[in-house]
């Protein structure tokens, strides 16, 4: 058994899943809509940080202060890329439908259309092969826990993710705009009565979800050092699963769901072998939903159910 | 599931210390009352007193946290709403809940279908039973529509009906299930005085046809005119239960609902 390595790796991948799950959860919380194009929002983020590295001419691992500078630049690029893409997706694929009172199915198909389109744009432009990232952070082993190596890059992934989640949580729970998001999520018509501009809140929600996906994309690029036109697909499904697992619409649920899914996957892989990982994690999801139909933490951002 | 058939005056529906709790909130608190075969029983009380929750609990939408409900002597615990309907207990909704894009006839037939047993195979192979049941369902739907006096075309979508006609259709849909007991949730809401008079006649006609009626209503004029008995709820508790004259005089009811000023005059 590889308990310590499974824990370390589960938390690391879980951190990225959690960041993705936040995007689904925020949008769901406010619009009751599953943003199936979120995977492509993530994908765009990875490309944005890669292009920044190319533009900076970075081919070798930077050292010293340069690391910090590079990190800030690629984070900004990824966050900008992803959040702009998220807002564009909302404007193009969702808002016109929302204005026309369309059904959820129409939204779903529209999202699928946007996903196809964006994937193909990137595939046609940059090919269908994996595109490598230069190494920007040495994978130095900091210390060992049993067989587990706690590496610098893993620590960075988890710490950055946690910091982002903390800020998001503070933003949503502690600022005026954050209150606006929660108000729309809990009772949108009353929010209008309080003077909340719903369209603006929706845009803000996609922006925030996109920003989280952007951070996830930057961390992914730094950690796995590759991207691809369809890189978002798997990570998107994982993020969505994590969001549902934790209780979609619930920010803290998304965090919990991400980490739980990460751990279920690494332990599932250790116990049942890698080929059964997805079967294990979906089974866990179904089991959780059977006993807690709205996920582990429930839908707390949601309007109260009668 | 056998339907209930009892002589007039027997207890048809009995609530025994029913308590319904949502999270920390007690919506219905130890409520007991009975409805007897052939009567019109009104349930009144301020908005939020738990009247609709009582209806929802009786029809199986909510499960009572404590207490029990029986219908014709048969306990309803563990039955799903559709099973309870099939026992002979139908209802309408406070805010009309027709199937808006189904036609008038289709809406009523949904009620008529409550007596049907055939499902998918019956439909696929048009078994004799399915044909028989389909015809029966259609008949009871048409009868119910005629009974309530709805004159709209059968092929008209429910959403296109006038408000009063929607109310009628909703009642027809419930009657098409051939109920022993019908629960009417604020049937007069949104009606003008002329429509209310028609409604009053309709409710009495329903009762006269042998169907017991339980009614939630705010229009006290209507309630006082047609009810045989009145149950008053306030804050989830039953505060009074009696004949209309008794209720009108009851200090507790005046305090909680009718308003102190009214009583003074």
């Amino acid at each position: 058994m590889q308990i310590p390595p499974s824990i370390v790796d589960g938390i690391t991948t879980g951190a990225i899943y959690a960041l993705m799950a936040l995007g689904y959860t925020l949008v769901y919380g406010v619009l009751r809509l599953i943003n199936f194009a979120h995977s492509e929002v993530f994908m765009v983020g990875t490309f944005a940080s890669l292009f920044t590295l190319h533009a900076l001419g970075i081919t070798k691992t930077p050292t010293g202060l340069a690391i910090v500078g590079v990190f800030i630049l690629i984070t900004v690029a990824a966050v900008a890329g992803s959040s702009i893409m998220a807002v564009l997706v909302e404007r193009i694929a969702y808002r016109p439908l929302r204005k026309r009172n369309s059904s959820s199915l129409a939204n779903l198909i529209s999202a699928i259309g946007v996903s196809f389109f964006l994937q193909e744009v990137y595939a046609l432009r940059y090919g269908r092969d994996l595109i490598p990232f230069p190494r920007i952070l040495n994978k130095t082993v900091l210390f060992h826990i049993g067989l587990a190596e706690v590496r610098l890059d893993k620590v960075v992934v988890v710490v950055v993710a946690l910091v982002m989640m903390f800020f998001l949580d503070r933003f949503v729970n502690g600022t005026r705009l954050g209150r606006g998001i929660r108000a729309v999520a809990q009772d949108s018509s009353t929010a209008v009565l309080m003077g909340v501009n719903i369209d603006r809140i929706v845009t803000l929600t996609f922006l925030l979800g996109g920003a989280m996906a952007g951070v996830a994309a930057m961390l992914y690029g730094m950690f796995y050092e590759v991207t691809q036109y369809n890189i978002g697909f798997v990570i998107g499904i994982k993020g969505f699963t994590a969001a549902v697992l934790g209780g979609i619409g619930n920010i803290r649920g998304a965090l919990l769901g991400g980490f739980v899914l990460g751990l279920v996957e690494t332990f599932g892989g250790a116990i049942f072998h890698a080929q059964w990982v997805d079967v294990v994690s979906f089974s866990v999801l179904v089991l959780v939903l059977l006993f807690r139909p709205t996920g582990i933490l429930g839908e707390s951002l949601q309007r109260a159910k009668a | 599931m056998s339907r209930v058939d009892l002589p007039k005056g027997e207890t048809l529906l009995a609530l025994n210390s029913v308590l319904v709790r949502f999270g920390g909130v007690v919506a219905v608190n130890q409520v007991s009352f009975e409805a007897k075969v052939g009567e019109i029983l009104a349930v009144i009380g301020p908005n939020g007193a738990g009247k609709t929750t009582v209806f929802n609990t009786v029809t199986g939408v909510y499960t009572p946290t404590e207490g029990d409900i029986s219908f014709g002597g048969r306990p309803l615990a563990g039955l799903k709403p559709h099973q309870i309907t099939r026992l002979g207990l139908a209802r309408t909704f406070q805010n009309i809940r027709l199937f808006p894009n189904m036609t008038v006839l289709e809406n009523a037939m949904i009620g008529g279908d409550a007596a049907s047993k055939s499902t998918v195979f019956g439909a696929m192979f048009k078994t004799p039973r399915q044909r028989r049941e389909e015809a029966a369902s259609r008949t009871s739907a048409l009868e119910a529509l005629e009974f309530v006096g709805l004159n709209a075309p059968l092929g008209r979508e429910a959403a296109g009906l006038s408000y009063g006609d929607q109310r009628r259709l909703e009642i027809a849909r419930a009657l098409a299930t051939k109920p022993q007991l019908i629960l009417l949730d604020e049937p007069a809401a949104g009606m003008n005085p002329a429509e209310k008079v028609d409604l009053q006649k309709l409710i009495q006609k329903i009762r006269n046809s042998g169907v017991t009626v339980i009614l939630i209503e705010h229009d006290m004029g209507l309630v006082m005119k047609i009810s045989d008995r009145i149950v008053v709820l306030d804050f989830g508790k039953k505060i009074a239960d009696g004949l209309p004259e008794e209720i009108r005089e009851s200090p507790a009811v005046i305090e909680a609902y009718l308003g102190a000023e009214d009583a003074a005059s």
Partner: protein, 381 residues
């Protein structure tokens, strides 16, 4: 159970889409025709279906592909699958993102029983349908109580699990799949009933018959208590339950029927292609079939058939676009949903439901309309 929204008070535009009206009157006229005329109409349709694989038609329809073959797959198979999924999505209003699982189950039933146990096609067909229906029930029973959004991820997961399982099990041949799947036995010496390797037309005819049967039964279902029940639970599940519709049972039935049509098409497909592998059953196929249903007009059989035809045929017709096919497809989906959210031929009922914003049956999104909200004139919740 949520008892809060008054469905009838949803606002919607009273002006209906013009093509919708045309669609409606056509249907009414058709129904108004005397029985012999309608029979004649059906005979004409069957004749058209028989003549469809002709080379001269193929030259126009699919100059860069083999027309009879693509008539069988993807066109015919997509139509069959879309008709099945339509029962779940269009009629009962539930979202199923893992429909391909049932197609796979039918296919593997055909392959395993045909190759390992030497069963014949006609023996396997009912088994394949039954196994698929049963797995529909097994998937549905625990999960149908979940709300719509959750059903999406669970069905999606189910589709993935089935693919993983067939990829990992030895009885299904693992990733290599199963080859040497037997063809249906030929009937007499008629060329169009001789099931061999080379001629796709007998399979196409077989599929046409299956499509006709599925349409026949789905019309009967739709015009019965079950169909009424589906519409009712799609429009207001709680009210339906309270009016005596056994909503859970009817949902399970919808799932089982959809699954069995999926299984049926899986058996038919596998009996033609000789070899199947897990690659034949990607998640993308589930998505495409859902696109067929919604694009054509969820709930309207003619629309669904049209949608399936277009989704299957257009990529073959425009093979020349090669790499740009998916790009255009994606863009077209968005544009279609913006301008025709109810699909190309929206169902009469669904058209109004979409206008009401309740077309999905269960909430999956798009619930907040700018400046317009439901819930009115109500007291207690």
């Amino acid at each position: 159970m949520s008892m809060s929204t008054s469905r009838i008070s949803h606002s919607y535009r009273s002006a209906k889409v013009p093509i919708q009206k045309a669609n409606d009157t056509m249907r009414q006229r058709w129904r108004g025709l005397p029985f012999p005329v309608r029979v004649l109409g059906y005979i004409v349709l069957i004749g058209v279906a028989m003549l469809l694989p002709a080379q001269s038609i193929g030259n126009i329809m699919a100059p860069q592909s083999d027309w009879p073959t693509i008539l069988f797959y993807p066109i015919g198979s997509y139509i069959l699958l879309a008709l099945g999924l339509n029962v779940v999505v269009g009629l009962a209003g539930m979202l199923d993102l893992g429909y391909v699982a049932f197609f796979a189950i039918g296919g593997y039933t055909m392959a395993v029983l045909g190759v390992n146990y030497n069963w014949t096609f006609w023996e396997i067909l009912p088994v394949g349908i039954a196994v698929a229906a049963l797995s529909g029930v097994i998937l549905g029973a625990p999960t149908l109580r979940l709300r719509g959004d959750y059903l999406a991820i669970v069905t999606l997961g189910f589709g993935e699990i089935i693919q993983r399982v067939v990829n990992n099990l030895s009885v299904t041949g693992g990733p290599t799949g199963i080859s040497g799947i037997p063809h249906p036995p030929s009937v007499g010496s008629l060329s169009f009933l001789t099931y061999g390797v080379l001629d796709p037309r007998p399979y196409y005819y077989l599929e046409v018959v299956m499509i006709a049967i599925v349409i026949f039964f789905s019309i009967r279902l739709e015009n019965s208590r079950v169909g009424r029940g589906w519409v009712a639970l799609r429009e207001d599940e709680d009210a339906a339950e309270i009016m005596g519709v056994p909503t859970f049972t009817f949902k399970i039935w919808a799932f089982a029927i959809g699954a069995s049509v999926g299984g049926l098409s899986g058996v038919v497909y596998a009996s033609k292609v000789i070899a199947i592998t897990p690659e034949n059953y990607p998640l993308l196929l589930s998505v495409l079939i859902l696109v067929c249903v919604v694009l054509g007009g969820s709930g309207n059989r003619a629309g669904v058939i049209l949608g399936a035809f277009l989704v299957a045929w257009l990529p073959e017709r425009f093979r020349g676009l090669a790499n740009y096919r998916i790009l255009f497809f994606g863009a077209m989906l968005v544009i279609m949903m913006i301008f025709r959210p109810g699909g190309l031929l929206p169902a009469r009922r669904r058209a109004s439901e979409f206008a009401h914003g309740i077309g999905g049956g269960q909430p999956l999104g798009g619930e907040i309309q700018s400046g317009q909200f439901e819930e009115d004139e109500e007291g207690e919740k």
